[in-house]
Symmetry: none
Subunit: 200 residues, 4 copies
């Protein structure tokens, strides 16, 4: 029986946040690494230089770890900007989001997460919360445009947001069509049309 990993000392009875970070980092790296075989708890534990039990102590299942690791990473990409033009902001936000997913690792991670969420209630919950937050950000972007008069006051912003993210996830999970800036532009264009004009 050996002691803890040499470079990361134990912290005692309190939770060791370094271990938590190491687990989430290792999980994301494995996810993005595109390893054909699904990411396993063993692999995460080994990559994080952590005991398996430490993972199970803080997360109820593998899916929950995967979900949290990816949600954490997702928040760092595709920030919402405010340039004064909601139309421009929408386009650049969608372009950023799509382009970030051109990294094969990111799509792969997204797919692993989606797969985990279908089989794991905890992962589903984390995914639901994360995407709800992302939708709220995009909705706020559109609401700004609506206030400024760029968009119709009666525009169904919630549905427009769903359409935007719907296409993103549909391409990532189902059709596997490329998530390039061209697609982002065309998607953005359709949403803007619908946002500007509710009735003839």
């Amino acid at each position: 029986m050996t002691g803890p990993h040499p470079s990361r000392p134990h912290t005692g009875r309190r939770r060791n946040d370094a271990a938590r970070e190491a687990i989430l980092d290792a999980t994301f790296e494995l996810l993005a690494g595109g390893h054909t075989a699904g990411v396993t708890i063993d692999a995460i534990a080994e990559a994080a230089a952590v005991g398996r039990q430490t993972i199970y102590r803080w997360w109820p299942s593998k899916g929950a770890v995967v979900a949290e690791a990816l949600a954490r990473q997702g928040r760092r990409l595709a920030p919402v900007r405010d340039s004064g033009s909601a139309a421009a902001d929408l386009t650049s936000f969608l372009t950023d989001s799509f382009v970030a997913l051109q990294d094969p690792g990111m799509v792969h991670a997204l797919r692993e997460l989606a797969a985990a969420a279908q089989q794991d209630e905890h992962a589903a919950q984390v995914l639901q919360d994360f995407t709800a937050q992302r939708r709220a950000e995009l909705r706020a972007l559109l609401a700004r445009g609506q206030h400024r008069g760029e968009f119709d006051a009666a525009a169904d912003l919630d549905m427009l947001v769903e359409m935007a993210y719907g296409v993103l996830w549909y391409r990532a999970l189902i059709s596997r069509d490329p998530l390039d800036s061209g697609a982002a532009g065309r998607l953005s264009a359709q949403i803007l049309i619908a946002a500007r004009k509710v009735q003839e």
Copy 2:
């Protein structure tokens, strides 16, 4: 491991199609049954009163069976109609599609399929083919409207189709929001706006 020699005519016992049907039926029932634990090959074989090897003889993996079982079922729901009004046809098609997924078994099956497709290349292929075909049907519906002059000649039909199916799958897999007729109507409305008016 190889098949019969090509120069020698086939003499052995022929494939039992009843077994094939039983496998697909049992698979779909298990999918729709909403069993918490993921559908397993063992469960399918037992439910179909079939040996495991019989499944592996005809499908390359579990995902492929799941995908085929579900695709077969999917084709029976939500037929495309032609009433003369593409707008009306779109709305009723989307409503039919959404409402069919209000059956908890159907959504559950869809989720299992999506999960399988993320980890199984065969399932991914079947899912891609199936959804491409469904998109083609919806696109044809919109194209009819375009030819009749209901929609703008320059409308980006492909993207509109993606937006429609995107919302459907997004609700089914990610947000788990209800797939009710209200949502179908709102979605239909946004698509019609974008289809009718490309530019001011």
Copy 3:
């Protein structure tokens, strides 16, 4: 997966006896190998080039495997002979038995078995059966002497047998004193005294 239908004979693949042999051989080798760490199921499976499940399919616990492996080996050593003199037979039997346990591997194996039996009901049962059989053999040896008039007709053969095996196991498990031929001779002598003369 349930068992075969009672009205239909067994049709599945038969048990692979080579695997059974390999498991028992590997177990005994590991036992005798004197590996400090207790023999594990993983180690047995790997040494036997067998899946872990194959072990669990046929034995209820690790202890049961260990017990069977050792009992099988034990039967091959220290055969009971019949030279015409029960006294000589007893001495040579005890000497053979002790000397066989001078092999460090054999004692080690015996200790592992005893340890397993204290914690595992299955192993305890196998050990009990095995030792009962060994006692019966030794008792038969003494009974021959009794019939021939070498020993007192009222001698308590059962207790004498227990005393013989008691010393053997006591040295192996508790005192760890050497199991040499000297000890065997002294033990044999005491038993012969008690066997010959019940009362003054």
Copy 4:
């Protein structure tokens, strides 16, 4: 893990010998409790209202604790008496020893100890020392008889002692035959025969 035991507060910087006693008491109680699952360090620590580290501070391993707890208890049972007749003393000593082990808890504890000793060098050492001491006591009893002329001057006292304890442990660990006073009497009788008469 519950809170600290209410009746034994921390003692601060000074070493708490009450903790040591509590650990040995709790260990023996758990051993004798006959809990199916092997006694664990966690269970001992909890029962003794002690931190795990406090156990490891004073004992090198679980086996050592178990061994010491049982040896301490063993010394309190089956005292050697001196009635003037070594034969009578032997019989009553063996009867006392056997009967003490009719308590299921005691046999269970003995088995746990034996199991621990096979896998733990520390426990083996404690067991060896303890049993050596017990043998010495019994040998002294027999030596008194020898000096008084009750037994043959050439009697092999060491082997006789081994035979007595051998039967005790053999019944406890291997055959699981009852350790009743009848068996003790029969065993005592055989030993006395051998002790009295070395040769015709």
